[in-house]
């Protein structure tokens, strides 16, 4: 049996961890899934697991192969992708037999996509893709990144073909991974990180926030094999296996020696190619590192720095331990440095800082919300309880007129309280996930007309449109609720002038904008950004009887529709506009009806 020159270890957990079953995913064509590195992975599996499924993801690659061939028909690539799978098995079946000491089974991609279960999941995934905007966005974004990588490798293909194939690739992968989920492996083992798509699919279709599907990443490193540990060759090999960058420079910053990891990260084949050169990193960063080196050389003391560098286009952070090298006369001749990659830690720090800031912000928002809510609830309760108690105690002390006045106040406050509670529940509902909405294809013009009718006895409303039908996929009740809230505001703030409802259709991006316009004092620029926050009521409070939640509800509903809402103001008119996307529209002769 051939001795493996690599050793594999998990990236984030100790090698001593023990699991039951695993799924070892093989991307056919990946160098890390062949030869010595594959053997190292099998040895790792032996140590940490009890059973293993070697999943050969061969025919999934037909979509990528089609993109490379600039063809939109992935199926013609089924045969070559299967053939690539056959060849992989030919090369590696005996390797598995030789090195895997635990019960295992080799399964191929077609073994999954040929099942009934796959067909069911595929249907669900396709449905999710057509209905869930967040999901379709992740698919598109992941596909784009994927195709960008192919282009950087020099492949030339049509954007649309690439998008179509990558979408099929990802939808198929998501459906198969749902089948994996049912097979309940303890872990998936894969040398790369999985995209967020998998997690999203499983959490949407399986309804769990998944700890389960977090693949265990592993890395292979060369084993240290030396015949004479005291030789120069051994020393070179030793520094090659040390983690991070090891280097020694002369007083001018020229490289005298370094390990393989450093050469590799700087884009050199081996460390010899770097000797005698100056390390080149983009300007500003280079200056900072030079400054650190000078500081350390002047102090003649070992120093530790956090240093930033751009290596092969990627921003990285290193923790550098640097020591001056001095001669017998105590003159500094150069330096020795070890720089450890702390990019992950730095990214995590940044992420944590960002999260902490947003949490603090959320806490302030929550406190403000609770304070205002407390004020809004306590005030009518206080009025009702004070007046009711007083009347109850001194029922014979009041005149008929006084009774009427008190009851007017009681009824008004009771109504306000009821409306507030109702709107609070609506705010909570509007902020729910879009899955709680009933989306149907509806003509938005019909929804607008019937809602306008409800207000016809109150005020004159003009509805301007040149369209006969605009089919949108919306929750009819919720869209009517938005319009009702906007018309209600327009009546309240519109100085009794007619309200105009207009439609603007943008055919290029298939958006329809509904504009509810009224004449009125409006809201100043600063306040305009806050109108969708709960309980915001503006400074023109004179005639305000609202709860300050209507626009918050509208905002929540439109968010769930993937739309948006905003306010505009010009020439004495206030317009609140909301936008949703439409599927189709048919025009009519210019039509104005009241």
């Amino acid at each position: 049996m051939q001795k493996c020159s690599y050793v594999a270890k998990f990236c984030k957990i100790p090698k001593t961890a023990q699991f039951g079953s695993c799924f070892l995913a093989i991307s056919v064509g990946q160098p890390s899934h062949e030869g010595q590195k594959f053997i190292a992975a099998l040895e790792l599996v032996n140590e940490c697991l009890k059973t293993c499924i070697v999943g050969v993801c061969d025919t999934l690659q037909r979509h990528t192969m089609a993109t490379i061939a600039n063809s939109s028909d992935s199926e013609i690539m089924h045969k070559p992708s299967k053939e690539a799978g056959n060849q992989w098995i030919e090369r590696n079946e005996s390797v598995c037999e030789q090195y895997l000491k635990i019960p295992y089974k080799i399964k191929r991609w077609d073994d999954w996509i040929g099942t009934k279960k796959y067909s069911c999941y595929r249907k669900e995934v396709d449905e999710l893709y057509s209905k869930d905007k967040a999901f379709s966005k992740i698919i598109r974004d992941t596909g784009r990144t994927f195709n960008k990588k192919l282009k950087t490798k020099g492949y030339v293909f049509d954007e649309k073909i690439g998008e179509q194939n990558s979408t099929q690739y990802l939808l198929e992968e998501c459906a198969v991974i749902c089948s994996f989920y049912d097979e309940r492996y303890d872990v998936e083992i894969y040398p790369f990180s999985r995209n967020q798509l998998v997690e999203y699919t499983l959490s949407r279709l399986k309804g769990e926030p998944l700890e389960f599907y977090k693949p265990l990443q592993f890395r292979c490193t060369k084993k240290l094999i030396v015949d004479d540990p005291s030789s120069k060759v051994a020393l070179e090999k030793i520094i090659d296996v040390l983690p991070g960058h090891v280097y020694w420079l002369d007083i001018d910053g020229k490289v005298l020696g370094c390990n393989r990891e450093m050469a590799k990260n700087l884009g050199f084949k081996n460390s010899n190619s770097l000797i005698g050169t100056h390390i080149k990193i983009p300007n500003l960063i280079q200056e900072k590192i030079k400054e650190n080196d000078t500081k350390m050389i002047q102090s003649k003391q070992p120093c530790v720095f956090e240093e930033e560098a751009i290596l092969q286009g990627r921003r990285k952070w290193f923790l550098s331990y640097k020591t001056p090298v001095v001669d017998k006369r105590d003159k500094v001749q150069g330096l020795v440095g070890v720089s450890l990659d702390i990019t992950d830690k730095k990214d995590l720090e940044k992420k944590l800082l960002k999260q902490t800031k947003s949490l603090q912000k959320a806490l302030v928002v929550r406190d403000n919300f609770l304070n205002t809510l407390s004020h809004e609830l306590r005030t009518p309760i206080h009025v009702i309880s004070s007046i009711a108690e007083e009347i109850h105690k001194n029922i014979y002390h009041f005149s008929r007129e006084e009774f009427k006045d008190f009851f007017d106040v009681l009824v008004a406050n009771n109504r306000r309280l009821t409306k507030l509670v109702h709107n609070l529940l609506e705010v909570a509902k509007s902020g729910q996930h879009s899955s709680s909405y009933v989306f149907e294809k509806k003509n938005i013009i019909d929804i607008i007309r019937s809602t306008i009718k409800e207000f016809s006895t109150l005020i004159n409303i003009l509805f301007e449109t040149k369209f006969y039908s605009i089919i949108t996929e919306v929750d009819e009740i919720k869209i009517a609720q938005i319009l009702r809230n906007l018309l209600d505001n327009a009546v309240r703030y519109g100085e009794k002038s007619p309200i105009i409802v207009k439609l603007e259709v943008f055919k290029n991006n298939k958006n329809v904008i509904v504009n509810v316009q009224n004449k009125g004092e409006g809201i100043c620029q600063i306040e305009r950004t806050k109108i969708f926050e709960p309980f915001f009521q503006g400074s023109n409070k004179i005639i305000n009887e609202g709860t300050g939640l209507g626009l918050t509800i509208c905002h929540g509903i439109l968010k769930a529709h993937g739309g948006s809402i905003w306010m505009e103001q010009n020439e004495g008119y206030t317009s609140v506009k909301f936008k949703v996307s439409y599927a189709e529209c048919s025009e009519e002769k210019d039509l104005i009806c009241g």
């Binding site: 407390s374 206080h382 009025v383 007046i387 007083e390 001194n394 406050n413």
Partner: protein
């Protein structure tokens, strides 16, 4: 439950219904009431007759200068009328830190006539102590 002496009370709140309820409760306690529906109006009244007003009921959350604006004005002018703060907001920690010395007490809405009477009594005691 009637406080001993009849006092002239300035009752400040931006909510008309709260003013109606305040008037009802204060009158039933046997005091005289002057209403103000904003901090600005309250200042105007205090400016006009600072010696005639004996107690102030002050809402904190109002548009404009609000209750805090009234407190600042009184601090600046060194007007020492006992103030009872009424509010619908629960978190008053910061407020009490800054203005705790200037006020007789806080009434959190909804409060009862009894709560109100107790604080009016406290205000009267404080006023008597400071004038003697």
């Amino acid at each position: 439950m009637q406080s001993v002496a009849k006092k002239k009370i300035l009752f400040v709140d931006d909510n008309q219904s709260v003013l109606v309820a305040g008037k009802l409760l204060i009158k039933s306690l046997g005091h005289e009431i002057i209403l103000a529906d904003s901090g600005e109006k309250a200042i105007e009244i205090i400016r006009e007759c600072p010696y005639k007003i004996e107690i102030i009921f002050l809402d904190l959350t109002m548009p404009g200068i609000g209750g805090v604006g009234v407190l600042k004005f009184m601090r600046k002018r060194r007007i020492k009328i006992p103030i009872i703060v009424q509010t619908g907001v629960t978190c008053l920690k910061e407020f009490k830190k800054t203005y705790g010395m200037d006020i007789v007490g806080c009434l959190e809405k909804p409060y009862t006539k009894e709560d109100m009477a107790k604080l009016i009594d406290c205000a009267i005691i404080r006023e008597t102590a400071s004038s003697s």
